[in-house]
């Protein structure tokens, strides 16, 4: 089965600073891929680059190929002009933006804005459009009457649901959800995740779920890709990556997740912070913060398959078990 989406060698620069530096990703039809990583690692930039929505101060390169069902020719996004992208956007791939507080035009009604998206990509009778909007709102758990309201008349959770309904309006085969639960309380979080899961099953959607919260990703995703400093450092099926991580960064991320019934201690935070794109370390980008760093890490590790269906960018993968961390080595290993 050929991939629905295939990103190869994606690079995004802001001036001369690399924000995304050689990312390969693929998504199968109907699959949910989680994109994990700290803030600033390039996740959102990757999503915006995919839809070519980055401002003019950014340059991007690499190939991005979309193969939606019922479309003859594969769509090479990197070659599309702005006019060409306008046809692809929302019709084949849509995006639920981070933070729905201000994602709707404040002076226009909600239903008009959903109708706008539909009418941009299809010729449909007004009555059909109205019906579809009602359906969409119901699907995301809202009453259709809410469509007549303005954005400021909706709560945060309702706005988030409206954005999801909007994202589904043109029946795309791929939806990207960027931190869909971050601004919400825990109860709302669970509801939204459950909604996304249900929609995936009902509509056969493929989903790219971006989040810094591994817990959120573990529930909804089939596969997960971990990003660090503009690069993918590990990919694999969610179960495998969680039970047997193959990259020290993934391991530390997982360690920081509290386990119910487990020891009542906070996991030690990963010392230091992600590197500044203008000042990247030589070799493996995680080296300055990695408890297992060694000489070899001055060489750039490639993302390679280290276990069945699981790839990691670490010289010492596959890891069968994790030796005790040498914290002291971190300081010396820097530079």
């Amino acid at each position: 089965m050929s991939a629905l989406l295939e990103i190869s060698g994606l690079r995004v620069h802001h001036g001369d600073r690399p924000i995304v530096d050689g990312v390969d990703l693929s998504v199968q039809p109907g699959e949910a891929l989680g994109l994990a990583g700290e803030s600033g690692c390039g996740k959102t930039t990757t999503a915006l680059a995919l839809m070519k929505l980055l401002p003019a101060t950014f340059t991007q390169s690499g190939t991005m190929t979309l193969r939606p069902p019922n479309v003859e020719e594969p769509i090479n996004l990197e070659r599309r002009t702005e006019a060409g992208m306008q046809q692809v956007r929302w019709r084949h791939v849509s995006l639920v933006f981070q933070g729905a507080m201000n994602s709707l035009d404040p002076v226009k009604r909600v239903d008009h804005q959903i109708a706008q998206a539909i009418n941009l990509h299809e010729r449909a009778a007004a009555g059909d459009v109205r019906a579809r909007i009602g359906e969409l709102l119901t699907t995301v758990g809202l009453t259709p009457a809410l469509g007549r309201r303005y954005a400021h008349q909706l709560s945060g959770g309702q706005r988030q649901r409206v954005m999801i309904a909007l994202a589904l309006a043109c029946r795309p085969s791929l939806v990207i959800a960027d931190e869909p639960t971050t601004a919400l309380d825990v109860v709302m979080q669970a509801q939204i995740l459950e909604l996304l899961e249900r929609l995936r099953e009902q509509l056969g959607l493929a989903l790219i779920l971006i989040s810094h919260d591994l817990g959120v990703l573990s529930e909804t995703c089939d596969r997960i890709a971990v990003m660090y400093a503009g690069r993918i450092v590990e990919t694999g099926p969610v179960r495998e990556v969680f039970s047997a991580p193959q990259h020290p960064y993934t391991k530390r991320l997982l360690d920081s997740l509290p386990v119910i019934g487990g020891p009542r201690t906070l996991a030690p935070p990963i010392p230091g912070g992600p590197p500044d794109p203008g000042d990247l370390p030589a070799g493996c980008r995680f080296r300055p913060r990695c408890p297992y760093a060694a000489e070899k890490c001055l060489e750039d590790p490639a993302l390679r398959e280290v276990r069945p269906a699981q790839a990691a960018a670490c010289h010492f993968a596959p890891w069968v078990e994790w030796p005790p961390a040498q914290e002291a080595a971190v300081e010396g290993a820097a530079g």
Partner: protein
């Protein structure tokens, strides 16, 4: 429209006007004791002055005088012009429509052109067009509007006699229809109208530009691009409507400027409005007229602010929730 909100705004406006009345009264009493002006009358004997004082009610206590003044004002009795001997209110009534015509034309043109230029500058931020427009708006702010008016006369009425140099109609001409007369007025309106528009243009441009720049950073603009809307339509259908809202309220700061410009421009073009009335009153030290025009100008600005508030209320669905 929430009646409570509206009532609050109207009450505030009335209160402000009341303060203008008090201020106006005490200013002219305190600083220009009418007795000294009465003494301008040739050879007035003390008895005659005393009689005149009684006539004008100047022998009453000051609060009594104020009540008289307030009562008179609200009945549109603003005194008599010392120059023409006609009631001040009549002078004002005759002049007001001309000022409204000039100011209205200038404001409308300045708003539309300024807003249009503001959108252009905001969507080309940092480029030559933006810098050029910013420079132009700074120049129109710094250049005195009456100087611009004089230059317009010089170029378009003296060197190239295309437009009339002043007044509102060609003197001594009989018009066969009101359409012809209107056309004549329109011809006379061109140069002062341009001066008025140029004076206000810069301010409205700057407000709209800043407003657009703000709106273009909002999330929903990116969302509109994401759904596949072409950029030109994103700007026109979503950025501009949201940017116009602050324009309505922010431009109300400049209503006072409009009045000031009206005075000087009308003077330059001998335009028979409140501005020229004020100018004549300045030269003749015609205090009743000055007092009356100051009152009308203040009332006009207060009213304009109130209308701007109402307009904003109608346009912004978020405010209607209050």
């Amino acid at each position: 429209m929430s009646p409570r909100w509206l009532a609050g705004k109207v009450a505030a406006a009335l209160l402000t006007f009341a303060f203008v009345l008090v201020f106006n009264f005490f200013l002219f009493r305190v600083m220009g004791d009418p007795t000294t002006q009465l003494a301008r009358l040739p050879r007035a004997t003390p008895e005659e002055i005393q009689k005149l004082r009684a006539n004008y009610g100047l022998d009453k206590p000051i609060t009594g005088q104020f009540v008289d003044y307030a009562g008179d004002t609200l009945r549109f009795d603003l005194g008599t012009s010392q120059r023409t001997r006609r009631p001040v209110w009549t002078e004002i009534k005759d002049a007001l429509p001309w000022t409204l015509l000039l100011v209205g034309t200038g404001t409308v043109l300045a708003t539309f052109i300024g807003a249009w230029l503001g959108v252009i500058a905001a969507t080309r931020r940092g480029k030559a067009a933006d810098d050029g427009l910013l420079g132009f708006s700074l120049f129109t702010y710094a250049a005195p509007e009456y100087w611009i008016g004089i230059i317009l006369i010089l170029v378009f009425a003296v060197w190239l006699p295309i437009f009339p140099a002043g007044q509102q109609v060609t003197p001594g001409v009989e018009f066969s229809s009101w359409l012809d007369e209107a056309a004549d007025v329109a011809e006379h309106l061109v140069l002062p109208g341009i001066a008025m528009t140029l004076m206000l243009l810069g301010q409205y441009f700057l407000i709209m530009r800043a407003s657009m720049v703000d709106v273009l950073t909002e999330d929903f603009i990116t969302v509109k691009r994401a759904i596949g809307l072409p950029w030109e339509r994103v700007v026109r259908q979503h950025a501009v409507p949201n940017a116009l809202l602050p324009l309505v309220t922010l431009s109300s700061i400049y209503f006072g400027m409009v009045v000031g410009g009206a005075i000087t421009i009308e003077t330059v073009f001998s335009w028979p409005g409140l501005g020229e009335l004020s100018f004549d009153a300045i030269n003749d030290k015609d205090f009743p007229v000055l007092q009356g025009t100051f009152l009308i100008f203040s009332a006009g600005v207060i009213l304009a602010n109130l209308l701007a508030d109402c307009l904003y209320f109608v346009l912004d669905p978020r405010v209607q929730a209050t």
